[in-house]
């Protein structure tokens, strides 16, 4: 599985700028995120090392790779959710629309209002369906009843859930099935009209039909949002994404410390059909991971 010589050499990654040129061959659209040589630590443990990539507007970018390769950690860095983990620390720089995301004056609260997140496990609040969707707008100070009604309907329609729940908006959000609950969480996220929607394996707990519904939804809403999705499912990445980033685990043979890093980042078709890196090739052809 792991070739030792390969593992050792990959600890000496190319200079960030060189890698930047290497991994993004086709500049397109407006970059929403520019990740520059980012390493993320949990305490003294380096979970992710030297990641550089750009996320482009109105595209779906997929993060694939085996467990422990740092996909989720990098995703959670985009809306500073890692701040909630005690001891988490980021080195390098992430620019969000040109602004340093980890700058001194940046409020994680303000960041998260623009960059929403859908989690692996559907996590509706123990409130009514209506209150779940209205939660974000209410945080933003919207109190007007008719305005809230309008936002709730539009968001639920956007998440393809409206027809199923329009007659029971005031029943508990916990009464929904897994797929419905996840779409409710998507509705809750888009209710605040975020700029970016981050999705952490949003369909991993869902059946193929619910997964298909979520994937159709993603393609539908990408004209308004920029979407980054972490997935274990390579078919899902090929189905929905415009670009794919492949992450892998580096194992230091001496200390057995496992660090995730970005191996290859390209247009999805290119990455799956003609990968540049052997590890990517092994992964996407199913010979590894």
């Amino acid at each position: 599985m792991e070739q030792p010589e390969d593992t050792v050499t990959s600890f000496r990654l190319p200079e960030p700028t060189a890698q930047q040129e290497r991994v993004v061959p086709v500049p397109a659209g407006t970059p929403v995120f520019e990740v520059k040589d980012v390493s993320i630590y949990y305490g003294s443990f380096r979970a992710v090392a030297n990641v550089s990539l750009s996320i482009y507007q109105n595209e779906i970018t997929a993060f694939i790779g085996s467990s422990g390769s740092g996909k989720t950690t990098v995703l959670r860095a985009f809306n500073r959710m890692n701040d909630l983990v005690p001891g988490a620390r980021l080195e390098g720089e992430i620019y969000y629309r040109g602004e340093p995301l980890y700058g001194k004056d940046v409020s994680p609260i303000a960041v998260r209002r623009r960059i929403g997140m859908v989690f692996q496990k559907p996590n509706p609040f123990p409130k009514s369906i209506y209150d779940n969707v209205a939660y974000g707008p209410r945080i933003n100070g919207i109190r007007n009843k008719s305005r809230l009604n309008e936002i709730v309907e539009r968001s639920l329609r956007g998440a393809a859930l409206w027809d199923e729940v329009k007659n029971r908006l005031h029943t508990s959000g916990l009464s929904l099935s897994g797929g419905q609950a996840q779409r409710l969480c998507i509705a809750r996220t888009i209710a605040v009209e975020p700029d970016v929607v981050l999705m952490d394996e949003p369909a991993s707990a869902l059946d193929p039909i619910a997964t298909g519904a979520i994937e159709d939804l993603m393609k539908e809403i990408k004209s308004q949002y920029t979407i980054v999705i972490v997935t274990h499912n390579m078919q899902q990445a090929t189905r929905v994404s415009d670009r794919t980033a492949f992450f892998s685990v580096l194992i230091n043979p001496e200390s057995d410390v496992r660090t995730g890093t970005l191996v290859e980042y390209d247009r999805t078709a290119k990455l799956f059909e003609d990968p540049r890196d052997d590890r990517t090739k092994a992964y996407v052809t199913g010979r590894m991971g």
């Binding site: 809306n79 959710m81 909630l84 005690p86 609260i109 303000a110 960041v111 998260r112 209002r113 623009r114 929403g116 997140m117 989690f119 496990k121 996590n123 509706p124 609040f125 123990p126 409130k127 009514s128 209150d131 939660y135 974000g136 945080i139 933003n140 029943t171 508990s172 959000g173 916990l174 009464s175 969480c185 809750r188 996220t189 605040v192």
Partner: protein, 297 residues
């Protein structure tokens, strides 16, 4: 042919042997312990109802306390009912918000800070302090300077309730899954809002249950009140903030030591009243929390 079916038939009965025996022993033991638990409980309830129900009535609950020699039928326990309700309510107002806020600090804000660890440790220690010591404590720092009062009693009961409320609320807040907090944070909520709109509502039923247990226990406390409200009143002290007061546990204590039949009967009536107050409180709280948590399932 018959032999073949004999072989292929599956035996789905519970296998005999030590495992089945163990299972049966455990079941019998569980039923037995349930019975053992329910016997004293049922007996207490039966005795209190049998001896106290006959004297109970509106005038009994509201009349002044007569001298001990007065037979059943005249007078009642009004001042003690009023005192218990006032003092317990005052103690609740002081201890429950403070305790819940303390638990929120411990669980949501304190993390592993030394201050949070110290408060958690002190709360555990305080749970073990005997109630009479709490009464003496309030006696020495408050009653000696300002005299007996319902307020002093409420301080003592509040001090008893506080650690219980902190610990039970803390446990309930710990049970709220982090995924709910993250969902709220991901929408751009501040920590205060996450706590107030997601964490607290999710933990509310448990917090209310814990607070109720603390209230019910405090309402039945005798020892801390001996040093703080004195007791022995025959008329209602309408000022809970000053002057001696009385309460149901004190009245029960005094009447139980009297040789007179009338006093004893009033003592039983007071005991039943105390149980009824706790019972009504529990039901009321369940109704209120059910309204708040109708979306939690």
């Amino acid at each position: 042919m018959a032999v073949v079916t004999e072989q292929s038939s599956v035996d789905l009965r519970e296998p005999a042997g030590w495992r089945r025996t163990k299972n049966r022993i455990a079941t019998v033991l569980m039923v037995l312990s349930f019975v053992v638990v329910i016997i004293p409980l049922g007996f207490v309830l039966y005795t209190v109802i049998a001896k106290g129900a006959s004297v109970l009535g509106w005038s009994f609950l509201t009349s002044q306390i007569p001298p001990a020699v007065v037979p059943v039928g005249t007078g009642g326990i009004g001042p003690a009912v009023a005192g218990t309700l006032e003092i317990t309510a005052l103690a609740t107002v002081m201890a429950v918000p403070l305790g819940v806020l303390g638990a929120i600090y411990l669980n949501e804000y304190g993390g592993n800070r030394p201050l949070a660890r110290l408060i958690g440790f002190m709360a555990d220690v305080m749970t073990g302090v005997p109630s009479i010591v709490m009464g003496l404590f309030i006696f020495s720092i408050w009653v000696l300077h300002f005299g007996f009062s319902g307020l002093a009693g409420a301080f003592a009961l509040g001090c008893l309730m506080l650690p219980v409320v902190i610990r039970s609320s803390d446990e309930m807040l710990k049970l709220v899954p982090d995924s709910l907090r993250e969902g709220s944070y991901a929408l751009g909520a501040t920590k205060a809002r996450v706590t107030a709109t997601v964490v607290l509502p999710a933990a509310l039923p448990g917090i209310v249950s814990g607070a109720l247990l603390a209230i019910a226990r405090a309402a039945g406390e005798t020892a801390p009140l001996l040093f703080t409200i004195l007791g022995g009143l025959t008329t209602v002290n309408s000022n809970v903030f000053s002057g001696a007061n009385t309460a149901l546990p004190l009245l029960i204590f005094t009447n139980a030591t009297q040789p007179y039949i009338g006093a004893e009967a009033r003592g039983w009536g007071a005991a039943l009243t105390l149980i009824a107050i706790a019972f009504i409180l529990m039901i009321a709280a369940r109704i209120v929390t059910a309204r708040f948590t109708r979306y939690s399932r």
